[in-house]
């Protein structure tokens, strides 16, 4: 086996996994704070990327477009909390889940209604080409952009960690995640907290949308990245931010390795389901994922 090639595949997989984690983070944030499995995260990623790229194409300055998109995403998060979630408080989780699927339809329709449905290219100024010194020295091709994406993801996690650990709002968020009723009892306004979480999820969706938009172009297929993020959640656990990162790395690496080494044996195309099977095998040993909360059932 060619070691350089193996390393290249592995590194490519790990970096792709980081991109999955970016999407998974959005799921985790909302699940952690409100127990809602937000299926609309993929649509939010698409909406954010499409808004940004369309503003850019209308000649807006990069930073201005970024700021406006961020404001739009936060407003969207607030609106979702107000219009969809607040009337559904205390409903069973499956109802909330279905509501977010309904939301997915609305967002997909809305974004294409406003900005049109033709695919766009997106440039952030970092070329998606292999790094020269690596390929010259060891003959390993790793894209510059992948490194950039990994850096962004790391930064994002660091920012979120500081936000959750050090700020007043972050501590309130963790309290709500631990126990809704106890949080209410000590005077944390639950609805503000949920609004903030959805706003933050909108921000994460924007970052994920930009990174994925550069990689695959901003088009409708972007909504499917959510499906790629789900096995990551299974492995990492629905409630854990480090789990999302680690799960992404595991999924990314095994998926790429399997694609290259196992795929040809069965005729290819296995990337559509392989990640799910890996996640399933993981679950057989750890039913709550790596860092998910253990549930103790009492009768």
């Amino acid at each position: 086996m060619d070691i350089a090639f193996f390393v290249e595949v592995l590194a490519g997989g790990l970096l792709a996994g980081v991109m999955y984690s970016l999407v998974a983070l959005g799921f985790v944030l909302i699940y952690k704070a409100s127990g809602v499995f937000n299926f609309a995260q993929g649509a939010m990623v698409f909406f954010a990327a499409l808004t940004f790229v369309s503003l850019g194409e209308r000649g807006w300055n990069f930073w201005l477009a970024l700021a406006v998109t961020l404001v739009v995403m936060v407003l969207l998060g607030l609106a979702i909390e107000r219009v969809v979630l607040r009337p559904l408080v205390n409903q069973p989780p499956i109802t909330l889940f279905m509501a977010t699927i309904g939301l997915t339809f609305v967002l997909e329709g809305l974004s294409q209604l406003v900005w049109g449905s033709q695919p766009h290219g997106l440039e952030l100024g970092i070329p998606d080409v292999p790094m020269e010194w690596l390929s010259q020295k060891w003959n390993i091709n790793i894209s510059q952009f992948d490194i950039f994406a990994a850096f962004v993801a790391g930064l994002l996690v660091a920012v979120l960690a500081v936000f959750f650990q050090k700020t007043r709002i972050g501590r309130a968020l963790r309290a709500v995640a631990d126990d809704h009723q106890a949080a209410l009892a000590v005077g944390i306004p639950l609805q503000h907290i949920w609004a903030i979480v959805w706003g933050v999820a909108g921000f994460v969706a924007l970052v994920a949308g930009l990174i994925w938009g550069v990689r695959n172009g901003v088009q409708f297929a972007l909504t499917f990245v959510a499906l790629k993020a789900l096995p990551v959640l299974l492995i990492g656990g629905f409630e854990s931010i480090p789990g999302a990162i680690l799960g992404g790395l595991i999924i990314g690496a095994t998926e790429k390795l399997a694609e290259v080494y196992v795929g040809p044996m069965v005729g290819g195309g296995i990337e559509s389901w392989f990640a799910y099977v890996v996640a399933l095998i993981f679950l057989l040993f750890r039913p709550e994922g790596l860092f998910g909360e253990k549930h103790i059932d009492r009768v």
């Binding site: 279905m98 699927i101 309904g102 329709g109 299974l234 389901w273 799910y276 679950l283 009492r298 009768v299």
Partner: protein, 358 residues
């Protein structure tokens, strides 16, 4: 006054246990069945029967299957379309490779194949619950479709992956017109719906509901967890498999993997939620709503554009439809989280009292 059970005494156990204990219900159901079997084929035209009512019945059957699993046994599944695909492809292969079998046994065998697949992918349910399980069933959705596309045997090595469903006939009576296909579908759906209704009133159904309400408590009172959960997956997949076979043979006329995408799984889940979780009637109401609503929207939008004379682009309409559809689902969940079946129950309560205020 009309809908009252006062004075209907039951003097035998059989009477006490019949499916519809109220006489008015029995009359209403028989009238409905008579209407569906006799009047609908007589007055329905090609379009109505072939493109609206038959798919409605097929989706209702699939929703019923999912409702057994999700509504009664409490296991959330997103792999419904995959089970339908198994049913469709296996029926095609049974008819192709064992033509002497006849169409009905082929459909039943295909349903059993779907049930076997359902048991395999139901195994994780013994370890994991809730959304973890829902996401795990996505593995089924993607894996099954991949297998069907990847291995030529299933499509009889057709180059395009799309095969035409064979002509179906029972005892040399061909089912080749929309009316006949409708009647075949209706017959199967009625039999299976009654079977489901009965099953859910039996020990099995009660075991399902106990598992749904709290599985630890259920296992404490002696309900075998593995058997019950896997049986729920098997029965549900059987229903979905039969629905898939009808979908391919009586509605589409082709057998193709693309028809059984994740979208279809979601649509069927919508039917269950909007119709009512844990309700046989709800499956039908939900299927009717989800099938008819896009058609209704389409009619309204074309009518509007004709009335106002504004030329509206197709993309605009489809996006608007998507928004309205999604918005309506959210709206429905907010105003009636228990689904349409609950509205029907409320109507029945009201009907009992009418015309008196109390």
């Amino acid at each position: 006054m009309l809908y009252r059970e006062a004075g209907q005494f039951k003097s035998t156990y059989a009477e006490d246990q019949q499916i519809f204990p109220i006489r008015q219900d029995r009359v209403a159901v028989s009238l409905l069945l008579a209407f569906a079997f006799v009047v609908v084929p007589a007055i329905g035209d090609q379009y109505w029967l072939g493109a609206i009512i038959t798919p409605f019945l097929i989706f209702a059957l699939a929703a019923l299957g999912l409702n057994i699993l999700t509504g009664y046994a409490g296991q959330l599944s997103l792999g419904t379309a995959a089970f339908m695909a198994v049913g469709a492809f296996m029926t095609y292969n049974f008819v192709l490779r064992m033509p002497w079998l006849g169409i009905l046994p082929s459909i039943i065998l295909a349903g059993l194949c779907a049930a076997a697949v359902g048991i395999v992918f139901g195994l994780p349910s013994l370890r994991i619950k809730g959304f973890y399980l829902a996401v795990a069933t996505l593995a089924c959705q993607f894996f099954v479709l991949w297998v069907l596309q990847r291995f030529g045997w299933f499509t009889n090595y057709s180059s395009s992956g799309v095969v035409t469903a064979q002509q179906i006939a029972i005892l040399d009576f061909p089912f080749n017109t929309p009316e006949r296909k409708y009647l075949l579908t209706l017959g199967i759906v009625v039999v299976m719906a009654l079977a489901a209704k009965n099953l859910m009133r039996s020990e099995t159904g009660r075991a399902f509901m106990a598992v749904r309400d709290m599985d630890v408590a259920a296992s404490v009172i002696g309900i075998p967890m593995m058997k019950t959960k896997l049986l729920a997956f098997a029965i549900s997949s059987f229903y979905c498999g039969v629905a898939g076979a009808l979908h391919a043979f009586c509605f589409l006329g082709t057998v193709e993997p693309e028809a059984y995408s994740l979208d279809l799984s979601f649509r069927i889940l919508f039917m269950v939620i909007i119709g009512g979780v844990g309700s046989i009637l709800g499956s039908f109401l939900g299927a009717a709503f989800i099938t008819l609503f896009p058609i209704f929207l389409n009619l309204v939008s074309t009518g509007l554009s004709q009335a106002t004379g504004v030329e509206v682009s197709h993309a605009l309409i489809s996006n608007l439809e998507s928004i309205i559809f999604g918005g309506l689902i959210v709206f429905f969940l907010i105003v009636e989280p228990q689904g349409l079946a609950r509205l029907w129950q409320i109507a029945k309560e009201k009907l009992r009292l009418w015309p008196f205020p109390h």
